[in-house]
Protein backbone atom coordinates (compact mmCIF):
# COMPACT_ATOMS: atom_id res chain seq x y z
CA UNK A 1 0.00 0.00 0.00
CA UNK A 2 2.90 2.34 0.73
CA UNK A 3 4.10 2.15 -2.86
CA UNK A 4 0.59 2.90 -4.12
CA UNK A 5 0.41 5.96 -1.91
CA UNK A 6 3.76 7.08 -3.24
CA UNK A 7 2.43 6.74 -6.77
CA UNK A 8 -0.62 8.79 -5.79
CA UNK A 9 1.63 11.47 -4.29
CA UNK A 10 3.74 11.54 -7.45
CA UNK A 11 0.62 11.97 -9.58
CA UNK A 12 -0.42 14.90 -7.44
CA UNK A 13 3.01 16.46 -7.71
CA UNK A 14 2.84 16.17 -11.50
CA UNK A 15 -0.67 17.55 -11.71
CA UNK A 16 0.02 20.48 -9.40
CA UNK A 17 1.22 23.53 -11.29
CA UNK A 18 4.66 24.91 -10.58
CA UNK A 19 4.78 26.76 -7.30
CA UNK A 20 7.77 28.89 -8.21
CA UNK A 21 5.53 31.95 -8.20
CA UNK A 22 4.74 33.82 -5.03
CA UNK A 23 1.93 36.21 -4.24
CA UNK A 24 3.40 39.00 -6.30
CA UNK A 25 4.61 36.69 -9.04
CA UNK A 26 3.23 38.52 -12.04
CA UNK A 27 4.67 41.86 -10.90
CA UNK A 28 8.17 43.00 -11.74
CA UNK A 29 9.79 43.54 -8.34
CA UNK A 30 13.08 44.43 -10.03
CA UNK A 31 11.51 47.54 -11.56
CA UNK A 32 9.71 49.47 -8.80
CA UNK A 33 7.86 52.58 -9.93
CA UNK A 34 6.09 55.50 -8.35
CA UNK A 35 2.85 56.62 -9.93
CA UNK A 36 1.49 60.02 -8.90
CA UNK A 37 -1.58 61.95 -9.94
CA UNK A 38 -5.28 62.46 -9.43
CA UNK A 39 -7.52 59.44 -8.79
CA UNK A 40 -9.96 59.17 -11.72
CA UNK A 41 -11.85 56.08 -10.58
CA UNK A 42 -11.97 54.20 -7.31
CA UNK A 43 -13.35 50.81 -6.32
CA UNK A 44 -13.33 49.99 -2.63
CA UNK A 45 -14.16 46.34 -3.20
CA UNK A 46 -13.07 42.77 -2.43
CA UNK A 47 -10.86 40.95 -3.09
CA UNK A 48 -8.70 44.05 -3.67
CA UNK A 49 -9.45 47.74 -3.75
CA UNK A 50 -8.34 49.36 -7.01
CA UNK A 51 -7.98 52.92 -8.24
CA UNK A 52 -7.00 54.41 -11.55
CA UNK A 53 -4.52 57.28 -11.41
CA UNK A 54 -3.86 59.74 -14.23
CA UNK A 55 -0.21 60.58 -14.88
CA UNK A 56 1.11 62.72 -17.73
CA UNK A 57 2.02 59.52 -19.62
CA UNK A 58 -0.99 57.28 -19.07
CA UNK A 59 -3.76 56.15 -16.77
CA UNK A 60 -2.50 53.51 -14.33
CA UNK A 61 -4.65 50.90 -12.69
CA UNK A 62 -3.32 50.56 -9.17
CA UNK A 63 -4.17 47.36 -7.29
CA UNK A 64 -4.36 47.94 -3.54
CA UNK A 65 -5.02 45.69 -0.52
CA UNK A 66 -8.19 43.86 0.61
CA UNK A 67 -10.74 46.30 1.98
CA UNK A 68 -10.51 44.94 5.54
CA UNK A 69 -6.77 45.62 5.68
CA UNK A 70 -7.22 49.02 4.04
CA UNK A 71 -9.83 49.97 6.64
CA UNK A 72 -7.70 48.71 9.55
CA UNK A 73 -4.82 50.90 8.40
CA UNK A 74 -6.92 53.99 7.86
CA UNK A 75 -7.16 53.87 4.07
CA UNK A 76 -10.93 54.19 3.88
CA UNK A 77 -13.07 54.55 0.75
CA UNK A 78 -13.25 58.32 1.42
CA UNK A 79 -9.48 58.56 1.58
CA UNK A 80 -9.00 57.05 -1.88
CA UNK A 81 -12.02 58.76 -3.45
CA UNK A 82 -12.08 60.17 -6.99
CA UNK A 83 -10.37 63.57 -7.16
CA UNK A 84 -7.80 62.92 -4.43
CA UNK A 85 -4.15 62.93 -5.38
CA UNK A 86 -2.35 59.65 -4.80
CA UNK A 87 1.25 58.65 -4.96
CA UNK A 88 1.65 54.88 -5.24
CA UNK A 89 4.96 53.06 -4.93
CA UNK A 90 4.90 49.53 -6.30
CA UNK A 91 5.61 47.14 -9.12
CA UNK A 92 4.31 47.07 -12.68
CA UNK A 93 2.39 44.02 -13.87
CA UNK A 94 4.21 41.77 -16.30
CA UNK A 95 0.86 40.45 -17.54
CA UNK A 96 -1.19 43.60 -18.07
CA UNK A 97 0.13 46.89 -19.46
CA UNK A 98 -0.65 49.88 -17.27
CA UNK A 99 -1.44 47.89 -14.14
CA UNK A 100 0.63 47.99 -10.99
CA UNK A 101 0.43 46.60 -7.49
CA UNK A 102 1.10 49.10 -4.75
CA UNK A 103 3.52 48.39 -1.94
CA UNK A 104 2.49 51.62 -0.24
CA UNK A 105 0.38 54.65 -1.06
CA UNK A 106 0.49 58.26 0.05
CA UNK A 107 -2.72 60.32 0.14
CA UNK A 108 -3.37 63.53 2.10
CA UNK A 109 0.21 63.40 3.39
CA UNK A 110 -0.45 59.99 4.97
CA UNK A 111 1.56 56.93 3.88
CA UNK A 112 -0.07 53.54 4.26
CA UNK A 113 1.53 50.14 3.70
CA UNK A 114 -0.46 47.71 1.57
CA UNK A 115 1.06 44.48 2.93
Amino acid sequence: MTSRLLVAAALVALAAPAVAHHGWGSYDAARPITVSGPIVSSRFENPHATVTVRTPERVWTVTLAPTSRMTNRGATADMIAVGKTMSAFGYPSTAQQGEMRAERITVDGKTIEMR
Binding site: A15, P17, V19, G25
Partner: protein, 163 residues
Protein backbone atom coordinates in the same frame (compact mmCIF):
# COMPACT_ATOMS: atom_id res chain seq x y z
CA UNK B 1 -19.79 30.33 -28.54
CA UNK B 2 -16.68 31.44 -26.70
CA UNK B 3 -17.85 35.00 -27.06
CA UNK B 4 -21.23 34.13 -25.57
CA UNK B 5 -19.55 32.43 -22.61
CA UNK B 6 -17.33 35.47 -22.03
CA UNK B 7 -20.41 37.72 -22.08
CA UNK B 8 -22.14 35.43 -19.62
CA UNK B 9 -19.28 35.53 -17.10
CA UNK B 10 -18.96 39.28 -17.52
CA UNK B 11 -22.71 39.68 -16.91
CA UNK B 12 -22.45 37.50 -13.81
CA UNK B 13 -19.54 39.54 -12.45
CA UNK B 14 -21.34 42.82 -13.11
CA UNK B 15 -24.67 41.63 -11.71
CA UNK B 16 -26.10 43.13 -8.54
CA UNK B 17 -25.11 39.95 -6.69
CA UNK B 18 -21.52 40.29 -7.93
CA UNK B 19 -21.38 43.89 -6.74
CA UNK B 20 -22.90 42.92 -3.38
CA UNK B 21 -20.20 40.29 -2.83
CA UNK B 22 -17.39 42.72 -3.66
CA UNK B 23 -18.79 45.62 -1.65
CA UNK B 24 -19.86 43.72 1.44
CA UNK B 25 -17.39 43.96 4.31
CA UNK B 26 -17.91 40.35 5.41
CA UNK B 27 -19.35 38.36 2.49
CA UNK B 28 -16.15 37.80 0.50
CA UNK B 29 -13.92 37.01 3.51
CA UNK B 30 -16.69 34.75 4.90
CA UNK B 31 -16.85 32.79 1.63
CA UNK B 32 -13.05 32.75 1.40
CA UNK B 33 -12.61 31.28 4.89
CA UNK B 34 -15.63 29.01 4.47
CA UNK B 35 -14.13 27.60 1.28
CA UNK B 36 -10.91 26.63 3.08
CA UNK B 37 -12.71 25.23 6.14
CA UNK B 38 -14.96 23.16 3.84
CA UNK B 39 -11.82 21.96 2.05
CA UNK B 40 -10.36 20.74 5.34
CA UNK B 41 -13.54 18.75 6.03
CA UNK B 42 -13.66 17.50 2.43
CA UNK B 43 -10.02 16.41 2.33
CA UNK B 44 -10.32 14.70 5.72
CA UNK B 45 -13.43 12.74 4.78
CA UNK B 46 -11.99 11.94 1.35
CA UNK B 47 -8.74 10.66 2.83
CA UNK B 48 -10.58 8.37 5.27
CA UNK B 49 -12.76 7.01 2.47
CA UNK B 50 -10.00 6.52 -0.10
CA UNK B 51 -7.44 5.14 2.35
CA UNK B 52 -10.01 2.56 3.48
CA UNK B 53 -10.54 1.59 -0.15
CA UNK B 54 -6.76 1.26 -0.54
CA UNK B 55 -6.59 -1.13 2.41
CA UNK B 56 -5.98 1.07 5.45
CA UNK B 57 -8.03 0.65 8.68
CA UNK B 58 -8.23 -3.05 7.81
CA UNK B 59 -9.90 -3.96 11.12
CA UNK B 60 -13.10 -2.26 10.01
CA UNK B 61 -15.75 -3.39 7.52
CA UNK B 62 -15.14 -1.23 4.43
CA UNK B 63 -18.79 -0.25 4.08
CA UNK B 64 -18.92 0.99 7.71
CA UNK B 65 -16.14 3.48 7.03
CA UNK B 66 -16.77 4.38 3.40
CA UNK B 67 -20.49 5.14 3.83
CA UNK B 68 -20.30 7.81 6.57
CA UNK B 69 -17.08 9.25 5.14
CA UNK B 70 -18.78 9.67 1.75
CA UNK B 71 -21.70 11.49 3.37
CA UNK B 72 -19.30 13.87 5.13
CA UNK B 73 -17.37 14.39 1.88
CA UNK B 74 -20.60 15.12 0.01
CA UNK B 75 -21.75 17.72 2.55
CA UNK B 76 -18.30 19.35 2.46
CA UNK B 77 -18.31 19.30 -1.35
CA UNK B 78 -21.67 21.09 -1.45
CA UNK B 79 -20.27 23.69 0.99
CA UNK B 80 -17.29 24.14 -1.31
CA UNK B 81 -19.56 24.64 -4.33
CA UNK B 82 -21.63 27.17 -2.40
CA UNK B 83 -18.67 29.21 -1.09
CA UNK B 84 -16.77 28.76 -4.35
CA UNK B 85 -19.65 30.16 -6.38
CA UNK B 86 -19.54 33.31 -4.22
CA UNK B 87 -15.79 33.71 -4.80
CA UNK B 88 -16.24 32.99 -8.51
CA UNK B 89 -19.07 35.49 -8.99
CA UNK B 90 -16.96 38.34 -7.57
CA UNK B 91 -14.34 37.91 -10.32
CA UNK B 92 -16.09 35.70 -12.87
CA UNK B 93 -14.60 37.10 -16.08
CA UNK B 94 -11.01 37.02 -14.79
CA UNK B 95 -11.34 33.56 -13.26
CA UNK B 96 -12.96 32.02 -16.32
CA UNK B 97 -9.95 33.14 -18.35
CA UNK B 98 -7.41 31.93 -15.78
CA UNK B 99 -5.62 28.79 -17.05
CA UNK B 100 -5.25 27.29 -13.58
CA UNK B 101 -8.93 27.84 -12.86
CA UNK B 102 -9.79 26.12 -16.15
CA UNK B 103 -7.56 23.21 -15.19
CA UNK B 104 -9.24 23.06 -11.79
CA UNK B 105 -12.73 22.87 -13.32
CA UNK B 106 -11.58 20.14 -15.73
CA UNK B 107 -10.10 18.15 -12.82
CA UNK B 108 -13.34 18.55 -10.82
CA UNK B 109 -15.25 17.17 -13.81
CA UNK B 110 -12.87 14.19 -13.92
CA UNK B 111 -13.28 13.75 -10.15
CA UNK B 112 -17.06 13.59 -10.52
CA UNK B 113 -16.73 11.12 -13.41
CA UNK B 114 -14.56 9.03 -11.10
CA UNK B 115 -17.34 9.10 -8.48
CA UNK B 116 -19.65 7.78 -11.19
CA UNK B 117 -17.11 5.07 -12.08
CA UNK B 118 -16.83 4.06 -8.41
CA UNK B 119 -20.61 3.98 -8.12
CA UNK B 120 -20.93 1.85 -11.27
CA UNK B 121 -18.13 -0.67 -10.92
CA UNK B 122 -17.04 -0.75 -7.27
CA UNK B 123 -19.73 0.35 -4.80
CA UNK B 124 -21.83 -2.83 -5.03
CA UNK B 125 -18.89 -5.15 -4.38
CA UNK B 126 -18.09 -3.41 -1.06
CA UNK B 127 -21.39 -3.85 0.70
CA UNK B 128 -20.94 -7.35 2.03
CA UNK B 129 -17.15 -7.24 2.40
CA UNK B 130 -16.00 -8.26 5.90
CA UNK B 131 -13.21 -6.59 7.90
CA UNK B 132 -9.74 -7.50 6.68
CA UNK B 133 -10.89 -8.64 3.25
CA UNK B 134 -8.84 -7.71 0.23
CA UNK B 135 -10.40 -4.77 -1.62
CA UNK B 136 -11.49 -5.28 -5.24
CA UNK B 137 -9.13 -3.80 -7.81
CA UNK B 138 -11.84 -1.48 -9.12
CA UNK B 139 -12.31 0.00 -5.64
CA UNK B 140 -8.57 0.50 -5.20
CA UNK B 141 -8.19 2.05 -8.62
CA UNK B 142 -10.99 4.58 -8.19
CA UNK B 143 -9.70 5.45 -4.70
CA UNK B 144 -6.22 6.15 -6.04
CA UNK B 145 -7.59 8.26 -8.89
CA UNK B 146 -9.83 10.07 -6.40
CA UNK B 147 -6.93 10.99 -4.09
CA UNK B 148 -4.77 12.17 -6.97
CA UNK B 149 -7.50 14.21 -8.65
CA UNK B 150 -8.92 15.93 -5.58
CA UNK B 151 -5.52 16.82 -4.16
CA UNK B 152 -4.61 18.25 -7.57
CA UNK B 153 -7.86 20.23 -7.49
CA UNK B 154 -6.84 21.66 -4.11
CA UNK B 155 -3.37 22.52 -5.43
CA UNK B 156 -4.95 24.30 -8.41
CA UNK B 157 -7.29 26.21 -6.13
CA UNK B 158 -4.42 27.53 -4.08
CA UNK B 159 -2.50 28.45 -7.25
CA UNK B 160 -5.20 30.47 -9.02
CA UNK B 161 -4.18 33.73 -7.36
CA UNK B 162 -0.60 33.32 -8.57
CA UNK B 163 -1.29 33.05 -12.29
Amino acid sequence: MEHAATDLFSALEHSAWGATIRQSVWLYPFANIGHVVALVLFAGALAVMDLRLLGAFAATRPADVVGPARTAALVAFLLMVLTGSVLFTAEASHLAANPVFQLKVALIALGLLNVLAFQTVAARSLRALPAGARLPTAARATAMVSLALWLAVAACGRSIAYF
